[in-house]
């Protein structure tokens, strides 16, 4: 293992050394990391890139859809940035099909991504056998964050499975707390549904719904149980939840007003900003009926086809810098994610991240996130149905199942 790592870092050093000419290579990077923790994280990339001899030009555009739209429009218009951010998944499919992206096969080969990147993540950046993006991190999307103070007050304990979760929620409710803090917006309604799907339906169910669009699964008892469990959660949120922002919901857990929140690991940034540490003021866990299941999403950077050799060199340098071990660890610390390579010593990360690394090490527990499995159009169509189901108490489980099944079948 050690010798392998040594070889890898040699390979990385060769790439870096090779790609460091006298003149600085300029890379303009479009991304949407604008909040406090996020900009600290992206600064890690910028600093490491500068150290490696490049010149980082930062184009931060607030809001993922806005940043992606700007980057795509510039790429189609013939004035592409050097690199642009996407979420791990299908967002850049058509750019690859249209031949607008450069592959990063050389970097992938020299750093041996096949051996060190989890298969689902590697697959998410690979099209027709070529790697078209650098997976810079892995975000877990199905965490439960809970206030240890609220749990102590209610006598609740960390939930072990979904039945136990409802026992704990009832305890919190009996103690006069808001059991479940929720920022009730469409995408978080879907995220909560996905959490139930992963926990109750398991990795298998998750992939069957979003990836295989399996009608048999959707019409079967497993999916019904997921839907009913999801509906049951509604009894544990407060009346102020509709329209609330997710980070305001996190604040409710931070203040101990609410017991827990289901959210991705980016919520840790809010706890950190409030001066709280995992394992002390708040706890984190993934609840599953199937012995574990970690919904993995994340971020990638893709590289539009370079117009000059200089740009090509800058792209190679940037790609290898982003995946270099030191960059990966420091970035994950700042971002709250975990590294996208599994060969690192993660003692420097917080205990939630260490739990995540342990989960990801178990291949059976790896669940590719929603956006890795389904195109945005399908995701959106099903999201609307999930949202209607959550909000409209008169919609029956049968109607929900029928609508989801129709949406899966009707996508062009």
């Amino acid at each position: 293992m050690l010798s392998k790592r040594y070889l890898l870092s040699c390979a990385a050093a060769t790439v870096l050394g090779f790609a460091t000419p006298a003149a600085a290579q300029t890379a303009e990077v479009i991304h949407w990391w604008t909040s406090g923790g996020e900009s600290a994280a992206v600064k890690v990339f910028a600093d490491q890139f500068t150290k490696a001899g490049g010149k980082w030009v930062d184009t931060a555009i607030a809001g993922g859809p806005n940043a992606r739209t700007a980057a795509i429009n510039r790429t189609i218009g013939g004035n592409p940035p050097t690199a642009m951010q996407f979420n791990t998944g299908k967002q850049f499919d058509e750019l690859v099909e249209a031949g607008l992206l450069a592959d990063v096969d050389a970097v992938a080969a020299s750093q041996n991504w096949k051996a060190i990147v989890p298969p689902a993540i590697l697959e998410a950046v690979t099209r027709n056998g070529h790697a078209y993006a650098v997976p810079v991190n892995i975000h877990g999307q199905n965490w439960f964050f809970y206030s240890t103070a609220a749990f102590a007050k209610a006598g609740a304990t960390e939930p072990k499975n979904w039945d136990d979760l409802f026992v704990q929620l009832d305890k919190l409710k009996a103690a006069g707390l808001i059991p479940l803090a929720f920022g009730d917006q469409k995408n978080w309604e879907r995220n909560m549904f996905n959490n139930v799907l992963a926990g109750v339906g398991g990795a298998d169910g998750f992939v069957k719904l979003w990836g295989k669009r399996d009608q048999g699964f959707v019409k079967g008892p497993g999916f019904r149980k997921v839907a009913e469990t999801y509906r049951r959660l509604k009894g544990y949120v407060d009346p102020g939840s509709p329209g609330r922002n997710w980070n305001d919901a996190t604040t409710m857990v931070i203040q101990g007003k609410a017991g827990m929140q289901m959210m991705g690991d980016w919520a840790k940034g809010e706890f950190t900003a409030a001066g709280q540490t995992p394992g002390k003021e708040y706890g984190c866990t993934v609840v599953s009926d199937h012995g574990g299941g970690y919904v993995m999403g994340g971020d990638v950077f893709a590289f539009p086809k370079p117009k000059t050799a200089d740009v090509a060199k800058a792209q190679t340098l940037l790609a290898s810098t982003m995946m270099a071990p030191a960059t990966q660890l420091e970035f994950a610390q700042k971002k709250g994610s975990i590294p996208s390579r599994t060969d690192l010593d993660v003692k420097s990360l917080d205990i939630c991240a260490q739990k995540a690394v342990a989960s990801v090490a178990n291949k059976a527990a790896q669940i590719p996130a929603n956006e890795l499995l389904s195109p945005p159009a399908l995701t959106g169509a099903v999201e609307d149905i999930i949202s209607a189901f959550w909000n409209d108490n008169t919609m029956t489980t049968d109607a929900f199942v029928a609508k989801v099944s129709a949406a899966l079948a009707s996508q062009l």
Binding site: P65, K186, P242, A377, G380, S387, D392
Partner: protein, 297 residues
């Protein structure tokens, strides 16, 4: 002869001067509209393509529950918004027309909401109506525990909160238009009706109101355009929620165009909106130009 020549060359010069504007209008408006209609007949996703699939996008559009809800919302919102704004605006104008004291101040106050964008309006009303922040909390803090105002988070009522914000925003503008119309009414008419002993309210209703046809048409068209492009109010106030209860067509188009990478469906929705608008607004415009012609005669 010479006069005629000068007349002709003058017309040519005018047309040459208009040419750039016409070209821009033709290429930008007609060209972009045509392109939108064409893309709506393809299976474009993130990038526009030319795979013709006929009307299938329209099929899935009208099978889409969210689109149907959006259209219903817009119809309900639009009808109530126009009627209430017109009625309220007219009423305010009549009240101010009574030569009240501090007329300038009142006029500015009523017109003031219109100076704010829908985003600001929406955000302010969201805070006002939020059951855990706004008037509901105020009432609770004052001891009125029984008062529960949660329309913002109720699926069956949320559209009326949008309506309240919209009317608040627009009534002042209608008032200004109506007031201008009222001030344009010949004083002789008032004198005549007074001599006849007709009560003021009947004069307003049966004499003045019909004379304000033009003002009503102008106000209606202004209201109608803001109904069609209703987007920011929904985004700022509810983001379409709870669920899909306050979705509107423009938001459907925007979401599918960008976030959902579904250009084909988005352009189909945009085209459907255009067809509806043309069907509704064209007769209105025709009616307005006819009444303007008649007034000129």
């Amino acid at each position: 002869m010479r006069f005629n020549l000068r007349f002709v060359s003058g017309r040519i010069a005018a047309q040459v001067a208009l040419l750039p504007a016409m070209l821009i209008a033709l290429t930008v408006f007609c060209g972009a509209t045509g392109w939108t209609v064409w893309i709506s007949l393809t299976n474009s996703r993130m990038l526009p393509n030319t795979n013709f699939i006929g009307l299938r996008q329209y099929g899935s559009l009208f099978a889409n529950e969210r689109w149907i809800v959006s259209v219903q919302n817009l119809a309900l919102f639009g009808a109530l918004f126009i009627v209430i704004s017109l009625a309220l605006g007219f009423l305010l104008a009549v009240l101010i027309d009574q030569r009240v004291r501090a007329e300038d101040l009142l006029r500015s106050m009523f017109l003031y909401p219109f100076s704010m964008s829908f985003i600001v309006t929406g955000l302010a009303w969201r805070w006002i109506l939020d059951p855990t922040l706004g008037i509901s909390k105020l009432a609770h803090d004052l001891g009125f525990e029984a008062i529960q105002f949660d329309w913002l988070v109720r699926q069956d009522r949320v559209i009326f909160t949008l309506l309240a914000a919209g009317v608040w925003h627009a009534a002042g503008l209608v008032m200004a238009i109506m007031l201008a119309g009222l001030r344009g009414i010949d004083q002789e008419i008032w004198k005549a009706t007074r001599i006849e002993g007709i009560p003021a309210w009947r004069t307003y209703l049966f004499v003045v109101l019909p004379m304000l046809k033009g003002s009503f048409a102008t106000a209606t068209i202004l209201m109608a355009t803001s109904v069609v492009r209703l987007y920011d109010l929904s985004v700022a106030m509810t983001n379409g929620g709870p669920g899909i209860a306050s979705e509107v067509p423009a938001k459907f188009v925007m979401d599918n165009l960008f976030e959902r990478q579904n250009i084909g469906l988005a352009t189909a929705a945009a085209t459907s909106m255009l067809v509806t608008v043309v069907a509704v607004v064209a007769p209105l415009l025709y009616w307005q130009s006819r009444s303007a012609e008649r007034a000129a005669r």
